[in-house]
């Protein structure tokens, strides 16, 4: 029984504005094991993005516990969570979130530059080139994000997410800003990565893409409605 990468216990998230309380998430129980491919889907407003933010340590739960590789997140400082995001988590966003002022190469190298242990320039080049090669974008290293199409930008975002060799890729609506052809390509890239061992958690409301995952979680009104699983590692 290996330690799950992410383990969520009785997690809840409440947003409060003045005298209004909104329960975005309630009683979430979830575990993600090494090598899994999980999709989280549900209608807009169901809380799936909030869940992903919390699992990615971008946000904090109001109640319940989150363990990342066995570590209780509530015990960590902001600096420590930043370090975990940097080393262990790769993010892919709907809007790509590349930094327009940096070249493609520098965008991808960024996580390495934020790392606690500095990486030598040579090593950085090796890793960046490798990741660019994985997503088939080696030729674009010198360009700027604004010079690429949406599909290409998302590929770069994937390369950036991969560069620090994270434990898990958290993917939020990766196809939201792409046409169907590009979307299919991105999803295929992600699937290929999973086949090579990358752990994936994808949030999408697109049923077609949700179905591609090996395990599917459905959310409605902040609660898990149901799960299907195709693996045998589950504790449930």
């Amino acid at each position: 029984m290996t330690t799950p990468i992410i383990k969520v216990q009785q997690l809840g998230k409440v947003f409060s504005t003045n005298d209004m309380l909104t329960h975005a998430l309630q009683g979430i129980e979830l575990e993600i094991q090494q090598g899994e491919y999980i999709s989280i889907s549900g209608p807009s407003g169901c809380g799936k993005s909030t869940l992903l933010s919390i699992m990615g340590l971008l946000d904090f739960p109001t109640t319940g516990k989150l363990f990342f590789e066995g570590k209780d997140i509530s015990q960590l400082s902001m600096e420590q969570t930043a370090a975990i995001r940097n080393k262990k988590i790769g993010f892919i966003f709907q809007q790509f979130n590349l930094i327009d002022e940096l070249s493609i190469y520098d965008n991808i190298a960024l996580p390495l530059r934020y790392a606690k242990q500095p990486t030598s320039d040579k090593k950085i080049k090796e890793k960046v080139d490798y990741c660019l090669d994985v997503v088939g974008m080696l030729s674009k290293a010198g360009r700027r994000p604004t010079q690429l199409s949406g599909g290409q930008q998302q590929c770069i975002a994937i390369a950036r997410a991969l560069v620090a060799e994270p434990s898990i890729l958290l993917v939020d609506e990766p196809t939201g800003n792409l046409d169907s052809k590009n979307s299919d390509q991105i999803m295929a890239t992600l699937e290929a990565l999973n086949n090579q061992g990358t752990t994936l958690c994808v949030v999408t409301h697109d049923i077609r893409y949700a179905e591609m995952a090996k395990r599917k979680v459905y959310l409605l009104d902040g609660r898990i409605l149901g799960q299907t699983r195709f693996d045998h590692q589950s504790m449930y």
Partner: protein, 819 residues
């Protein structure tokens, strides 16, 4: 109208949520605009507003220019008979008055106050059409040569010295042995033309005949006096230059006649000058006023740039709200109007504060700058001030509203509405921001440094050790209130009596029959008998207790003795500086110095140097090292009428008490002045203290403004980068990474700003080298470092503060579109 009210209500509601923003705008604009209104009103008053006298455009002052043999101006003052001659000739002027200023003690008054007096001919108040509170002005029966002893009081004198007594008319006052009948009191709103000295208010007006000029001076064409003035209403058909041409031969011919016997004046002549009263009153103040206005305008511009940045930052904050309004049909004009509602509320509040500040500014100027600027008593919030206030409010409100709405990229606004939109409806290019930061830093550095330098200089002067004590010491000068003065012999026993009484006072610890060093020295030519070398040290009479009392140490030799003074021994004590001048090794005891008389003075002692603030060494060799002012002391006479009193600590003696004491000994003596040395010292340091306070306040203000400005720019710069910050945080950037990044990104602009300030200094150096050169020593290095550190600190703060709300919250806050 309804919409206008509603818009203002909404704007107010929205502003209430941002008290920091409102307060910053309010304080910055309120203070700077207050200063601006002050400066504008002052300039208007001095440069535009006519004097409050009828026919003021024909009101001129005639001056007596004494020109030496080489056509050089020797002085700008009348001789007594010259003035009387001009007055009696009645040339060029329709009506003219002559006057002589003085200082006298009202002996008959209980408190024997020292008052400013003016001895005038009756025409003066007729020309000025002076308003009266009581009685009448002088009339023909009190004209020159009538010797009719009457007096007029100023309103303040009436109120303060006579408690506003309604029965003041026909009462008598005694000044210098003459009893004057009070015939009139000037009205409170009478404004005196300050011809002699800015800020001097004449308290008692007396007929010209009774002026203090001695019989000799009244006849002498070789004796000029700055106290004598001529003012008149020029004939309608006579121009200013015609008047000069008319008066010069008239006065010169009579003068040549008068000095024909004196060979000293061979080749000299008189040329008359005729200047408008306004010009005379203004003197150097015009440039002071304009400089003040220029300075304040500069301050307003800096403030304006800063507040612009703040408004831009605010627009950045409000973009989502504006996008919503645009989506439901608000045009650019609507957004502009909404913004205008906000800016006009802010500017209205600022201008109210500005008016309050201007009003206090007037008060401060009247209290403290009365001696520097003329006519300050006329300063008040007038239509010009209010007009400017309205104009400034409207212009700035429109300007800030326009500026804020200009940066909205109307087309891109809708992207902010889409919940996950990354777009930004704002446009301030990175370049613009960098230029703004750089110029802000450059200006702030220059101004802070300049203020620091001035401040340091002023503080240095204020804190410079005097070399003597002023604690509990006061100077008493006597007034002899009779027409014929006593002889030296006659006064010795009287003074002895007075001193006996003074020493008997329980409050008095010790007494010296000499003036305080702060009361002044006089220049005296001395000749070293040994080698005929000439020296001009500052000289002062001192008695045997003088040095002890002020705690000025005697380094070598002996002090004066009572015997020295009694016998009139020609002995002298010199200070180190003079000793060094006389002999390089400073060993000058026994040296003989001649004052021109048959018996030279012998040096018997050497005292330590003292420093009197505001007095600089007159070094003829111009040697760079300041060695101190050369001083010499001679034994004061036993009949001297100036005393220093050292009081027991916590004790005081009133002027009235001293007056009574004097009257007991000899009723002809009254107190002329009784001032504490500390007060004199403060007065002497007035300009340094003013400079210190002003520069400290200015440095603080500039610093604050720079901080606000930098904060403004960096704040919206950071807001524009919000999504980028979020993305960086998502991939693991820590707080430190982001702070370092923002600082690095701005470091270049700040550096450019620093270089810019050096360039500004270089330009200033080229343009004003003579003024700046003395400041340029290695001593400015710590100041430069201090300035740079301060500006850097403020920049760092401005970098961090806007960033804090993003980096101290979970990353998702920055990644989401709306708060």
């Amino acid at each position: 109208m309804r919409i206008l009210i509603r818009q203002h209500k909404q704007a107010w509601a929205s502003l209430k949520k941002k008290p920091g923003f409102v307060l910053t705008v309010l304080m910055t604009m309120g203070i700077t605009l207050g200063a601006l209104l002050c400066a504008i009103t002052l300039n208007y008053l001095l440069l535009v507003e006519p004097l409050p006298y009828p026919d003021q455009d024909r009101l001129f002052v005639a001056e007596h220019g004494v020109t030496g043999a080489k056509k050089e101006t020797k002085g700008l003052a009348f001789t007594y008979p010259g003035l009387v001659h001009l007055y009696k000739s009645k040339a060029a002027f329709e009506q003219a008055a002559i006057m002589s200023y003085g200082e006298d003690v009202i002996v008959s008054h209980n408190s024997q106050p020292l008052v400013n007096t003016a001895y005038i001919t009756p025409e003066l108040h007729q020309i000025l059409a002076s308003p009266l509170a009581l009685g009448r002005m002088f009339e023909a029966s009190e004209a020159m040569d009538t010797h009719n002893p009457v007096a007029m009081l100023s309103y303040n004198t009436w109120q303060q010295e006579f408690n506003g007594n309604v029965d003041i008319l026909e009462q008598k006052i005694n000044i210098r042995g003459v009893s004057y009948r009070i015939v009139g009191v000037l009205a409170e709103h009478f404004i005196e033309p300050e011809l002699e000295e800015i800020g001097r208010e004449t308290q008692v007006w007396l007929p010209f005949d009774f002026n203090s000029a001695g019989e000799g001076q009244r006849q002498s064409f070789g004796n000029i006096s700055g106290n004598l003035k001529f003012i008149g209403l020029l004939n309608k058909e006579v121009s200013q230059s015609q008047a000069v041409q008319l008066l010069t031969p008239l006065v010169n011919d009579r003068w040549q006649e008068g000095v024909a016997e004196i060979s000293f004046f061979k080749g000299w002549s008189i040329d008359m000058r005729v200047r408008p009263v306004k010009e005379v009153m203004l003197g150097q103040s015009e440039s002071i006023a304009i400089m003040l206005l220029a300075g304040v305008v500069g301050l307003v511009l800096i403030a304006c740039a800063n507040i612009s940045n703040l408004f831009m930052a605010r627009t950045a904050e409000k973009q989502r709200q504006m996008a919503i309004q645009a989506a439901i049909g608000a045009t650019k004009k609507h957004l502009f109007k909404a913004m205008l509602a906000e800016t006009s509320i802010l500017m209205f509040m600022s201008i109210i504060l500005a008016l309050v500040i201007a009003k206090s500014g007037f008060y401060i100027m009247q209290q403290y700058l009365g001696a520097v600027l003329p006519r300050v008593n006329e300063l008040s919030l007038n239509p010009i001030t209010f007009g400017c206030a309205v104009l400034v409010t409207v212009v700035f409100a429109l300007f800030f509203a326009k500026l804020s709405t200009r940066m909205i990229n109307y087309r891109a606004l809708n992207t902010t509405l889409q919940s996950s939109g990354k777009g930004s409806g704002l446009q301030v290019s990175k370049k613009t921001r960098q230029v703004l930061i750089a110029s802000q830093v450059a200006l702030a550095t220059v101004l802070v440094f300049a203020n620091f330098s001035l401040l340091k200089d002023a503080v240095k002067t204020i804190n410079a050790p005097l070399g003597f004590t002023t604690t509990n010491i006061s100077t008493l000068r006597l007034n002899f209130s009779s027409t014929d003065s006593p002889s030296q012999e006659e006064s010795i026993p009287i003074m002895a009596g007075i001193m006996e009484k003074l020493e008997a006072l329980p409050q008095v610890e010790s007494l010296s029959q000499s003036g305080s060093p702060l009361d002044g020295f006089y220049l005296r030519a001395l000749t070293n008998v040994a080698n005929n070398e000439r020296y001009t040290p500052f000289l002062k009479g001192a008695d045997q207790r003088y040095f002890n009392m002020i705690e000025q140490p005697l380094l070598q030799g002996d002090n004066f003795t009572r015997v020295d003074r009694q016998d009139g021994n020609n002995v002298m004590i010199v200070n180190q500086a003079f000793a060094k001048q006389l002999k390089a090794d400073g060993d000058v005891l026994g040296l003989q110095l001649s004052m021109g008389g048959p018996d030279p003075h012998k040096i018997i002692g050497i005292v330590k140097d003292i420093a009197i603030p505001g007095e600089t060494a007159i070094e003829d060799d111009g040697s760079a090292e300041y060695t101190g002012v050369p001083r010499a002391y001679v034994a004061s006479r036993l009949g001297a009428q100036t005393f220093m009193l050292k009081l027991k600590s916590g004790q005081s003696v009133s002027r009235e008490q001293l007056g009574k004491l004097l009257a007991e000994v000899d009723s002809r003596y009254a107190v002329f002045s009784f001032n504490s040395a500390d007060d004199i010292l403060t007065q002497r340091l007035f300009s340094e203290i003013t400079t210190a306070v002003t520069t400290a306040v200015l440095a603080g203000l500039v610093f604050l403004l720079a901080g606000i400005g930098l904060y403004g720019i960096l704040s919206y710069g950071t807001q524009l980068r919000r999504f980028e910050l979020g993305a960086r945080m998502a991939i693991g950037a820590t707080k430190q990474h982001l702070v370092t990044m923002i600082i690095n990104d701005n470091a270049k602009s700040v550096l450019v700003g620093f270089i810019g300030s050096v360039v500004l200094f270089a330009l200033a150096y080229i343009g004003l080298s003579e003024y700046i050169q003395p400041f340029l020593t290695w001593q400015v290095l710590p100041m430069i470092v201090a300035t740079l550190i301060l500006i850097t600190l403020v920049t760092l703060f401005a970098c961090y503060w806007p960033l804090r709300k993003y980096i101290n919250k979970p990353a998702i806050f920055s990644l989401r579109g709306s708060d």
